[in-house]
Symmetry: C2
C-alpha cells in the first residue's frame, strides 16, 4: 500500500538505543525490564509509528491471532429457507456485536465462516487444525450437526452459543430457556389468564424443548395439569397457522405463549384476522425480544434473550481455552428477563 517501508522492531530499537530483544520484551509486557527503558522504548514506538507485524509474530508463536465465528447449518446457505430466517433475525448481528466486544480490545481478528455442507465442515476443521484460526465461536443451527463433535475430536479450542443438540464434551453458553418459559407462564397467570395455550418451536431444537418444559412446569405448579400445544417452525407463517389451529380447537383460550417473536408476530396476525382483541381477549407472550417484538401490533410482551452478553461470554471461553488448552469443558447459563409491552 504505502510507498515507504513499515517500521520494524529494529527501527524502534535503534531509535531507543537498545536491542531488538528488549523492544520485543517491552511490547509483549515481559517482566524483567528496566522501568526506565520501558518508557524510552514506548516513546520510540510512538515516534516511529511502529506496529507489530502479525505474520512475523504468527510465524514464531504459531498463533494466528484470529478467532473464527462459525455458522454451521445442515444444508447450504443459499437453498435453505431457515438460513434466510436465521439472518432475518437480528440474531446474527447481535452475536457479532458480542463477539467483537471482547475480541477487539485484545487485537484479535474475527474470521467469518459459514459452513452448510458436510464437506465444508470437514474442510473447516482441517483449516482450523492447521492454525487458520486459534479457536472458534460456533453457532450450530441444526440438531444433526456433526461439527461440535468434529471440533471436539480435533482438539480445537471452541465453544458454542447455545446448548449442543447432542451431548458432546464441548463448552457452551446458553440461556435458561426453561426459566424463560416459566416467566411467561407466571406473567400470563399473574394477569388473570386461566385458559392457556402454547405455540412451540421445532421439537428437535433444544431451546424450543426447554421453553416448553419451563412453561409446563410453572403451570403445573399452579395446578394447570394440561394445556393445548401447537408446533411451529420458528417462522412467521408457522406461527400464524399454529394460532389459527389453536383457536379452532380451543375457542376459549385467553393466553398464549409463543416460543419466538417471529411466530408470535404471525399469531397476532391470525388473531387480528379472527377479530380477537389482544391482550383483552387473548394475551400473547413471545420470546427473544427481537426486532419483530417491536414491529408487532400490538407490541410484544416477550422474554429477553441476552444474546450479546452470551456471545461475549462464549468468546471469553474460547480465548481462555486458547491460552490454556488443558482447561476443562465448561458451560455458562444466562437468565432471561421478561419485557412487558402491550400484548400481555
Amino acid at each position: 500500500m504505502s510507498e515507504k517501508r513499515r517500521p520494524t522492531l529494529e527501527d524502534v530499537a535503534e531509535a531507543a538505543g537498545v536491542s531488538r530483544a528488549t523492544v520485543s520484551r517491552v511490547i509483549n509486557g515481559v517482566r524483567n525490564v528496566d522501568p526506565k527503558l520501558h518508557e524510552i522504548v514506548w516513546q520510540a514506538v510512538d515516534a516511529t509509528g511502529y506496529v507489530p507485524n502479525r505474520a512475523a509474530r504468527s510465524l514464531v508463536t504459531r498463533r494466528s491471532g484470529t478467532v473464527a465465528l462459525v455458522v454451521s447449518d445442515a444444508v447450504s446457505h443459499d437453498d435453505d429457507p431457515f438460513m434466510r430466517r436465521f439472518f432475518a433475525d437480528p440474531f446474527f448481528g447481535r452475536i457479532v456485536g458480542g463477539v467483537m466486544s471482547v475480541l477487539r480490545p485484545k487485537g484479535v481478528q474475527l474470521a467469518l465462516q459459514i459452513v452448510g455442507t458436510q464437506e465444508a465442515r470437514t474442510r473447516l476443521v482441517g483449516d482450523l487444525g492447521q492454525g487458520q484460526a486459534d479457536g472458534a465461536v460456533v453457532l450450530s443451527l441444526h440438531p444433526d450437526d456433526t461439527l461440535p463433535q468434529q471440533l471436539c475430536d480435533a482438539g480445537i479450542a471452541a465453544a458454542l452459543v447455545g446448548r449442543p443438540a447432542q451431548p458432546v464434551p464441548i463448552s457452551y453458553v446458553d440461556l435458561a430457556n426453561d426459566a424463560g418459559g416459566a416467566l411467561a407462564a407466571e406473567h400470563l397467570l399473574g394477569r388473570g389468564c386461566t385458559r392457556l395455550g402454547m405455540i412451540t418451536g421445532p421439537a428437535h431444537v433444544p431451546a424450543s424443548q426447554d421453553r416448553l418444559t419451563g412453561f409446563r412446569q410453572a403451570l403445573a405448579r399452579h395446578g394447570h395439569a394440561w394445556f393445548p400445544i401447537a408446533e411451529g417452525g420458528f417462522t412467521y407463517e408457522s406461527g400464524e397457522s399454529a394460532m389459527l389451529a389453536l383457536m379452532a380447537e380451543h375457542p376459549g383460550l385467553d393466553g398464549v405463549f409463543v416460543a419466538n417473536d417471529l411466530m408470535a408476530q404471525g399469531a397476532l396476525m391470525a388473531l387480528r384476522t379472527r377479530n380477537v382483541r389482544v391482550p383483552d381477549e387473548v394475551a400473547v407472550v413471545g420470546f427473544d425480544d427481537s426486532s419483530a417484538a417491536l414491529d408487532a401490533r400490538p407490541q410484544l410482551t416477550t422474554v429477553r434473550h441476552p444474546l450479546e452478553d452470551m456471545a461475549a461470554e462464549t468468546t471469553r471461553l474460547v480465548l481462555a481455552r486458547i491460552d490454556d488448552p488443558s482447561l476443562r469443558v465448561e458451560s455458562v447459563i444466562f437468565d432471561p428477563k421478561l419485557v412487558v409491552r402491550q400484548s400481555a
Copy 2:
C-alpha cells in the same frame, strides 16, 4: 493443536526428491516446471498432507490473504436503531454469502469489521494500511460516512456495495435503482392503476432517491405529471404511518410503490387497518425481495435486489485491485427484476 509438527515445504521436497524451491514453484503454479516433476510433487503433497503456512507466506509476500468486510455506520452499533434494522434485514447475510462465494475458492479469509465511531474508522484505516487485510468490501450505511474518502486517501484496495453517498473516487457496485422504480411504475400502470402514490425512503439515501426518480420518470412518460409522496425511514413503522398519511390525504389512490419491503409490510398493515383490500382496491409494490416480502399478507410483489451477485462482484473488484493497484476506479451496475406475487 496437534502433537506432531506440521509438514513443511522441506518435507514435501524430501518426499518428492526435489528441492524446496521446486515444490514452492509447483504449488504456486509458476511456469517453467517439468510436467513430470509437477505430478511427482503433487503426489508428495498429498502423501505428506502438506498445507502452506499462511504466516510464513504472508511474511515474504507481504500479503495477508485476508479481505475485510467492513460495515460502517454513523454511530455505534449498540445504540443505533437503524443498525438493528440493518441486521434485521437479510441484507447482511446475503452480502456475506455473496462475498464468501468468491473468496472461498481462492482461499482468502473474510475478516469482519464493524465500525461505528469516527475513532474506529480511523483505526480501521490504519490497520488496513498496516496490512491487516489486503483489501476491503465496504458497506457504508450513512450519508455522512467519511470512510470511503479515508480509504481512498490511504490508497487501500476497496470497493463499496452501493453507490457512495458523496462523490468519492472509489469503486462500487450498485443496483439500477431508478430502473427498479420504473419497473414498479410500469407494473402498476399495466394492471390498470391510475391514481398512484409512493412511499419513499430517507431523502439522503442515494438508493432511495434513485427509486423515486425512476418511478417518477416512468410515470411522466405515461403522462402522469404528479403523484403524492410520503417519506419513510425504511422501517416497518414508518411505512405504516406513511401509508395512513397517504390514505388520509388522497383517498382515491389505487396503487402504491413503497421503497422497501419492510415499509411495504407496514403499509399493508395500515391498509388492513382501514379495511382496504389489497390488491383489489389498492395495489402495492415493494422493493428488495427480502424475507419481509414473503412474510407479508398478501405476499408482496416487489423489485428484486440481487444482493448476492452484487456482493460477489464487489469482492471481485477488490481482488482485482489487490492484484493490480494501478487499476482504475470502476463501477458495475446491476439490473433489478420484478417479482410478481399477490399484492400487485
